[in-house]
């Protein structure tokens, strides 16, 4: 059956045959084609397009609201510059982390690299395309997030905000170039596994700093905070200093935009041409064999029960997921306000009751995350299918391992609630169990995207699982809040 024309716009991708074979454009179109087909939006479920468009429209509407609210505000240039600089720095940290992980895949995923390097295409072209591909994938999510804000500000009389569409790709290009430089050194010293851990830790550090700064008014006196803020701001004498160039470019000043573009492109090209030869002659990939840390010792623990054996396997896969600690800590940042409320340092909303929905939400998110690692990391589901075990064994073992891991993280906060607000414990436990279970079931069927697909393989995971999982956690959290605060506060 012929596909309707409107659908083709969603499911077709840039066609490499439009360009001369082996040319840069041809290779780049091929790269984008693969990225598109492997993308979580296209591969996992066609139906995901509708919720994603919906989320995009909601984001744009929220951005329009923010821009409308701020339309009358006139912030001074120094304030705008500091704000833009802080944003650029944090964005750069997150971009660098993501680019480092991608660079490890590009430089050391042998199937992919060997396949391309075995072709008669010049290696510098291959590396350029791979670096641009990483730049595109690093820039894309931030382009979407800042793009909606830039659009909204442009609509409300600040067209210079559209400079974000230039600055974000430029920043991504620098992050990618730096990542390609750093990764080669890190892999040769530490091995690919540890290097990947470093990249995840960088994202964690940036995330924790952002969170800590967000909480600053709770633990830094207002006068000190104001002093710090003033000290960070440029003054009339140094406002043209190079340090403020990126921020001024982000704010849409033409000359800084030109200078930044030139510098970023220059850095990108320098790294590209500096690394291309090493990439081609295998020096880079050979370095990865030098270092990984010695393997962990583990004596045999044979179990006769299939469920126990499968659960142990799942826990091992879970523990060895490269981003386990960082992503668990990220998700568990919810626990910081919980801790502050439980220890009486902070009073938010209705008081300690706020803790209950927060914990329920976190339980759901952790369950979804852990079960997605287990399901997405199951490289040999047919082994279980060929074994003399019931079909439900794999599912139950995934629930058990992910549930156990969630319980380990949540045990302490639950004890905290027991000590501070023992009366809320039944509602908390019931909602945690419901939320955890619903997200375990959901994540086992629709795991969230966590694993980069191997060369020639398709991605496991879907953004639909993520959307539904967050929704389910929110519903359970709302239910928990209604249970512990039966009378709604006056808003």
């Amino acid at each position: 059956m012929k596909m309707p024309r409107w659908k083709m716009y969603f499911y077709t991708s840039p066609a490499p045959h439009m360009f001369k074979p082996t040319s840069f454009s041809w290779l780049f179109a091929h790269e984008i084609n693969l990225l598109w087909r492997n993308s979580i939006l296209i591969r996992t479920s066609r139906h995901v397009i509708i919720p994603v468009i919906f989320v995009g429209v909601v984001f744009q509407a929220v951005a329009l609201g923010i821009a409308y609210f701020l339309r009358g505000q006139n912030f001074s240039l120094p304030v705008m510059i500091v704000a833009a600089n802080i944003n650029l720095i944090f964005l750069f940290g997150l971009m660098l982390s993501r680019a480092m992980t991608s660079a490890i895949d590009v430089l050391y995923a042998r199937g992919d690299a060997d396949f391309l390097l075995a072709s008669p295409i010049p290696p510098v072209r291959i590396l350029a395309v791979r670096m641009l591909g990483v730049t595109a994938s690093v820039a894309a999510p931030w382009m979407l997030l800042t793009g909606v804000l830039a659009n909204a500000f442009a609509i409300f009389g600040k067209p210079q905000a559209l400079a974000a569409y230039i600055m974000i790709p430029m920043e991504a290009a620098v992050a990618t170039s730096l990542a390609f430089l750093l990764v080669v050194v890190l892999v040769s010293k530490l091995g690919p596994r540890q290097a990947r851990r470093v990249s995840h830790s960088l994202a964690l550090v940036v995330g924790v700093v952002i969170f800590a700064l967000g909480q600053a008014p709770h633990y830094i006196p207002a006068s000190s905070l104001r002093g710090l803020w003033l000290a960070l701001m440029p003054n009339d004498q140094n406002i043209n200093a190079p340090i403020w160039l990126p921020a001024r470019a982000m704010l849409g000043q033409a000359i800084p935009v030109l200078i930044i573009c030139t510098l970023c492109t220059g850095f990108f090209l320098a790294v590209l041409f500096g690394r291309a030869k090493q990439y081609a002659d295998g020096t880079i990939s050979a370095a990865s064999y030098a270092g990984d840390s010695p393997p962990q010792r583990d004596n045999g623990h044979f179990r006769q029960a299939p469920l126990a054996a499968t659960m142990l396997k799942n826990l091992r896969i879970l523990l060895r997921f490269p981003g386990l600690v960082t992503q668990t800590v990220y998700r568990s940042l919810t626990l910081v306000p919980v801790l502050m409320i439980l220890t009486g340092r902070v009073a938010i909303g209705t008081g300690p009751e706020v803790v209950v929905p927060l914990l329920v939400f976190l339980t759901g998110q952790l369950a979804l995350f852990f079960v997605s690692i287990i399901t997405g990391g199951d490289q040999a589901p047919e082994l279980l299918a060929s074994a003399p075990v019931l079909a439900a064994t794999g599912r139950k073992a995934a629930y058990a391992a992910a549930g156990y891991a969630s319980l380990v993280v949540m045990a302490l906060p639950v004890i905290g609630v027991l000590l501070r607000q023992g009366g809320h414990l039944p509602a908390l436990l019931a909602c945690m169990a419901g939320c955890g279970l619903s997200n375990l079931i959901l994540g086992q069927r629709l795991p969230i995207p966590l694993y980069r697909p191997a060369f020639g393989k398709t991605q496991t995971g879907t953004v639909l699982g993520l959307i539904l999982g967050v929704s389910a956690s929110s519903v359970w959290a709302l239910l928990a809040w209604l249970l512990v605060v039966p009378q709604l506060p006056h808003l």
Partner: protein, 246 residues
């Protein structure tokens, strides 16, 4: 006499018929090579025998146990080794064997000693604590083979088992399979290396057009193809499959 594998009237279609009315019988101690051109349905047949794919029609029994009606009892006697190694990169060979032994409910003490023995025999002992992610294709294949042997199955289903193995490892694997066959296990194997089939198999079946084109010992196939006794299996295979397509 007990029969290791009985397949009767097996049919499977996807977008077009792949297997049509296939009959197969394998006796204990027999090594049966299932050959055929690409797309002949060899892997589909093996997957149906392993209980991974439900046939449209027909019956499959392993040592008298119906694979469709009692899959768990049938699977308990089988080992399935596909062409792509079913392996977890994040597990070490020892951990992989723990998992497989658990799935087949091997008594722990016996599984531990069997694992040591297999790791030693297959040259994996020095790597038993290393994660499989850094292994070569051959080492991965040997790890998977150790998994297939740990529960001492009576019936082996092997899809291209020698892929990626070096000459010494391939010889070792062949020796292990012959030893298992001599001990009474039945083996069904697919391979594109016809020399392996010629040396290893007691009987050979050539699958083409959804059914068995020819079946018998190598000598019987030579006779069926009208070839002299010096003809290789490659000559016989090419002759039979080309005449079938004419």
């Amino acid at each position: 006499m007990t029969v290791a594998l009985t397949v009767r009237g097996l049919c499977k279609s996807f977008t077009k018929p792949v297997i049509q009315n296939l009959d197969l019988t394998i006796a204990p101690g027999e090594v049966y090579a299932l050959l055929g051109p690409n797309g002949a349905g060899k892997t589909t047949t093996l997957r149906m025998i392993a209980g991974l794919l439900k046939p449209d029609a027909g019956t499959i029994a392993v040592f008298g146990t119906d694979v469709i009606a009692a899959p768990l009892q049938a699977k308990a006697q089988m080992a399935w080794l596909p062409d792509e190694p079913l392996l977890y990169d994040k597990l070490s060979p020892l951990e992989y064997l723990e998992f497989v032994a658990g799935l087949w409910q091997v008594e722990p003490a016996r599984a531990a000693s069997r694992a040591d023995e297999l790791l030693e025999t297959l040259g994996l002992w020095p790597h038993r604590h290393e994660r499989c992610e850094g292994f070569s294709r051959g080492m991965k294949q040997k790890t998977v083979l150790a998994g297939a042997l740990i529960h001492a199955p009576k019936f082996f289903i092997l899809d291209e088992p020698l892929t990626g193995l070096d000459a010494a490892a391939a010889k070792l694997v062949k020796a292990i399979l012959m030893e298992r066959a001599a001990a009474g296990a039945a083996i069904i194997i697919t391979t594109h290396i016809l020399e392996v089939a010629e040396r290893l198999a007691t009987r050979i079946g050539i699958l083409s057009g959804g059914g068995l084109l020819a079946e018998g010992s190598f000598a019987q196939l030579q006779a069926q193809a009208g070839k002299h006794e010096n003809a290789t299996l490659e000559d016989v295979f090419l002759h039979l499959t080309s005449t079938a397509h004419v």
